[in-house]
Amino acid sequence: MSEVIVETKDLHKYYELGKENMVKALQGVSLQIKKGEFIAIIGPSGSGKSTLMHIFGALDSPTEGQVWLDGEEISKKKISGLYKIRGRKVGFIFQGFNLIPTMTALENVMLAVEYSGRKANAKREAAEILTEVGLEKRLGHKPSELSGGEQQRVAIARALVNKPTIVLADEPTGELDTQTSLEIIRLLKDLNEKEGQTFVIVTHNPEVANVCSRIIHLRDGKIEN
């Protein structure tokens, strides 16, 4: 029953900053993530955590190595051609929430449904998931009218609305106070247990790491054990 959702083989990601100056963000990362796992990635700043998440999520491509997402190799494909995978199989949650400021909570979530091509049900599905994260009274509010914790709930709703195979959260509690952070993590954990979706969470917060089933340590672009 332990189906592999993400697999990487010898991933490398280099950024060329000049002729002589090359940043090696990832240097040979090989790992497997199974269905239903709740994984934390921790490591110092600049160790390549975000880069790795972006590659999992079909937002960025590796310089070398292979990535499979839900059985499909995505490392050979152009990023612009992977929008369907980003829309349907991956849910992103960012540290800065990344909501669209001119849209209401409901519209922000609806957008993700529309992009995945299910326009007809967008409103109902968006309202349902917002209710599930406890925002049924905030549907018509713009991000600027919501607290940090509420904004992150909207972002979680948006990430989950298309029932993705994997949810990738990059420091989701980085801008929240301790109390709110715990609430958010508990919410993610609940969703994981209820729906059996796979979660990968980048975090600095040891409390967050504590509730995870597995911790991946990253340092200088390598997995450390």
Binding site: L59, I79, Y83, K84, R86, F92, N98, L99, T102, S116
Partner: protein
């Protein structure tokens, strides 16, 4: 809705851009209405003049109106030419000896025909809206073209003054949107008398009133070529000059085409300026929203989708500008027409093809202007876009 909100996120900038387009479309609608009115006028004129050969005295100038009188007796000679269906004398003189003020379109004309022969002419089939048409034997009776009613401020039964002679208005023609709208029809002998009085005094004793005409209109039988018949008349009848209706059509078509081109070009210049303004606004709008583009891509928007959103935004700006421009242009045209109608001069005609065409044009222009900024937005790398700010 979402598109409108995106546009008006920057209220002042977008409003200014939209007004840029609106001004261009305003110019297009107003100038275009002028062109449409002229086209219609000329189109009607072609029907009126373009179907018959006009024969003038050989000494007459290039002008269609006035000039040296032609002898009515030439009709018998002309009728002998093969292909001539009928020929009849017509007198067309300006209502006022010196035309007053600036005239757009046709100046008011006094036209005299023999009602019997005029029946054959397609132009003789204009319907009477009220009263009756000129009949054989009428003396000092006039039937007015529709524009003349307002201009002279008269109704059927009133008296009008034509070059010092009183005439009774017995009827009013339907609107034709062309030359006959500014005609005052009288019986041929009356017109001949008015014409005689308009001739230089020294000239008068040498001509017989019944033999006076400004031109002879010749209708061509079916199956004959008008240009060919014109040539025959010029070759066989002495001291006359027959004008080929085909030549006339060509000349008119050329001058109308030039006029239309000038109008189109000036409106286009206005719109190119508007288009640059949209490009500028959209580039700024994309630059401000790079992060938003990154978010959209991260949650599943395709490049095409991003492109479409921005192109749509630009198109909607064009559409709004187009509608505003049309509204103001149309309003202006109606107001000017309302005031000039009192003097019987309608200068503008906003046709539905012009109205719809200019709004579509504004929308397409907006979309095209938005294409480059939208393409730039669509090609942004999602990670770099998310990292911005």
């Amino acid at each position: 809705m979402k598109t409108l909100r995106s546009i008006f996120r920057r209220k002042v900038r977008s409003t200014l851009t939209i007004f840029g387009i609106a001004i261009g479309i305003f110019a297009l609608v107003v100038m275009g209405s002028m062109a449409e009115k002229l086209n219609k006028l000329v189109g009607g004129g072609l029907e009126y003049y373009g179907t018959r050969i006009t024969v003038q005295d050989a000494k007459s100038g290039m002008s269609f109106f006035g000039g040296t009188p032609i002898a009515v007796s030439k009709i018998d000679e002309i009728k002998k030419i093969p292909g001539v269906k009928s020929a009849y004398a017509s007198v067309e003189i300006l209502k006022d000896e010196i035309s007053s003020g600036v005239n757009f379109g046709m100046p008011p004309m006094i036209a005299g025909y023999d009602p019997a022969s005029f029946k054959d002419d397609p132009a003789g089939s204009i319907k009477v809206a009220s009263g009756r048409d000129i009949q054989a034997g009428d003396i000092k009776k006039a039937v007015l073209g529709s524009d003349m009613v307002k201009k002279l401020n008269v109704v059927v039964g009133d008296q009008i003054d034509l070059r010092g002679t009183k005439f009774e208005v017995v009827g009013i023609y339907d609107k034709t949107f062309s030359a006959p709208d500014s005609y005052i029809m009288v019986n041929l002998p009356d017109a001949q008398e008015l014409m005689l009085e308009s001739l230089p005094t020294a000239f008068r004793p040498s001509v017989k009133k019944e033999n006076l005409a400004t031109s002879i209109s010749v209708l061509v039988k079916g199956g004959y070529n008008a240009s060919e018949v014109t040539k025959q008349i010029n070759d066989k009848v002495k001291d006359v000059k027959a004008l080929d209706p085909e030549e006339f059509k060509k000349q008119v078509a050329n001058s109308v085409a030039i006029f239309n081109l000038i109008i189109l070009a000036s409106a286009l210049i206005a719109l190119v300026v508007g288009s640059f303004s949209i490009i500028n606004t959209m580039i700024m709008s994309v630059a401000e929203r790079i992060r938003e583009i990154g978010i959209k891509k991260a949650i599943g928007a395709s490049n095409f989708r991003v492109l479409r959103e921005f192109v749509l935004e630009a198109a909607v700006m064009g559409l709004i500008g187009g509608l505003i421009g049309l509204a103001f242009g149309w309003l202006t045209v109606e107001i000017v027409n309302y005031f000039t109608a009192a003097s019987g001069q309608i200068i503008f005609l906003t046709t539905s093809r012009l109205a719809i065409g200019s709004v579509i044009f504004a929308t397409v222009l907006g979309a095209v202007s938005g294409l480059y900024p939208a393409w730039y937005a669509a090609r942004l790398n999602p990670i770099e876009a998310l990292r911005s700010e």
